[in-house]
Structure formats: structure tokens, C-alpha cells
Amino acid sequence: SQKIEQNSEALNIQEGKTATLTCNYTNYSPAYLQWYRQDPGRGPVFLLLIRENEKEKRKERLKVTFDTTLKQSLFHITASQPADSATYLCALASGGYQKVTFGIGTKLQVIP
């Protein structure tokens, strides 16, 4: 069955450092992969999308890589700030009207 794995344990890093979150998947051939941010008591908010034929995407301090051979995506936040503290979810979809499947998320804590 399809499986998406994210490190469900919290990731603590020092302010100013680069945070790297991992999303691995099995039994899936996604057309694209998305990353979302979720703050406590709120719904997830879309951050970035990367397609199967793309290796890397950037948006301001965010960078996403996608390796379909390793079946892995890495999500980087450079020059991290305490305001970046949140849970980050990866999500995969086959495209069109197919469902989007979410990972359990990784909680990031940026320490001042």
C-alpha cells in the first residue's frame, strides 16, 4: 500500500541555521509533491509544489528537492527564524482529480 514517511519527531534547530526536513514514500508514482505548513489550531497552508520532472524548486528562503529514484523529497528552510516554527507536511498526488495524500508531518522548533 502507499506510504509516506516523515520524521514525526520534532526537529530542533538554532536560529539562523538551515532546517532540512525529509519526506520518503513507497508504492507511489506521484505526478507532483507539495509541502504545507500547519500552525497549532489552524488548517495547513500550501507552500511549494515540485513536479516529478523537476529536481529543485525555490521560493524565498525555501528550497525543495525531489528525487524520484530515491523516492524522497527534502525541504530546506535557510536562515531559519523562530517564526518558522510549525509542523510541515508533505503531500503527494497523481494529478487531476486524484486524491492528495498527506504525510504525518514534522514539527520544527527554531530556537532563538
Binding site: F46, L89, K99, I104
Partner: protein, 114 residues
Amino acid sequence: DTAVSQTPKYLVTQMGNDKSIKCEQNLGHDTMYWYKQDSKKFLKIMFSYNNKELIINETVPNRFSPKSPDKAHLNLHINSLELGDSAVYFCASSQPLARHNEQFFGPGTRLTVL
């Protein structure tokens, strides 16, 4: 202007009761969803409607019945509530054929069944 709104935000009820959650989106999207996020924070899709037609129906008990009166609204009715139904329910909308198919989520409804 709230893009995706849900009511109520909190719902506390007894086992066996029937309750409804309402959702509205003003983004002009064709597709709407219900997700359940359990105590372990796992976000799982329940239903998806495209232009009032049911297109995704995951393995959800028959006690859950979605209704879409128009493409801007998707309500969720739950019969005979059970303890295990306690969770946060998120409504979302998207335009699946758009470039990013990003899901826009509502603020969530925290359901507690006593």
C-alpha cells in the same frame, strides 16, 4: 475575506447524537474536500466533491454523509456519533486542474464526543 470557512469551530456532544458541520468557499473552486485529523495529527481524506458530484469516497463509515448543495458548499452530517469520531475535521477546496492544485483549508472543526 475568509476563503474557506467552517462552522462550528468547536463541537462537543454525547455519543449517539447526530451533528452537522458546514463549509463554504468563496474561491470559485470546483472541488471541495473533507479531511479528518486525528489525535496523532494524521490528516486523512474522507470525501471529495467536484461540481456537486462525489468523486472520492474513502473507507468511511456510512454514518458520515456529505452533501453539496452547490459547488461553494460542502456539509458533513454525522449520525450516531462514536468516541472514535473525536478529531479535527478540515474542509478544503482546490482547482485540481490548476497549475499547483494547492488545497485551501478551512480553520477546522474540533469535534469532541463524550
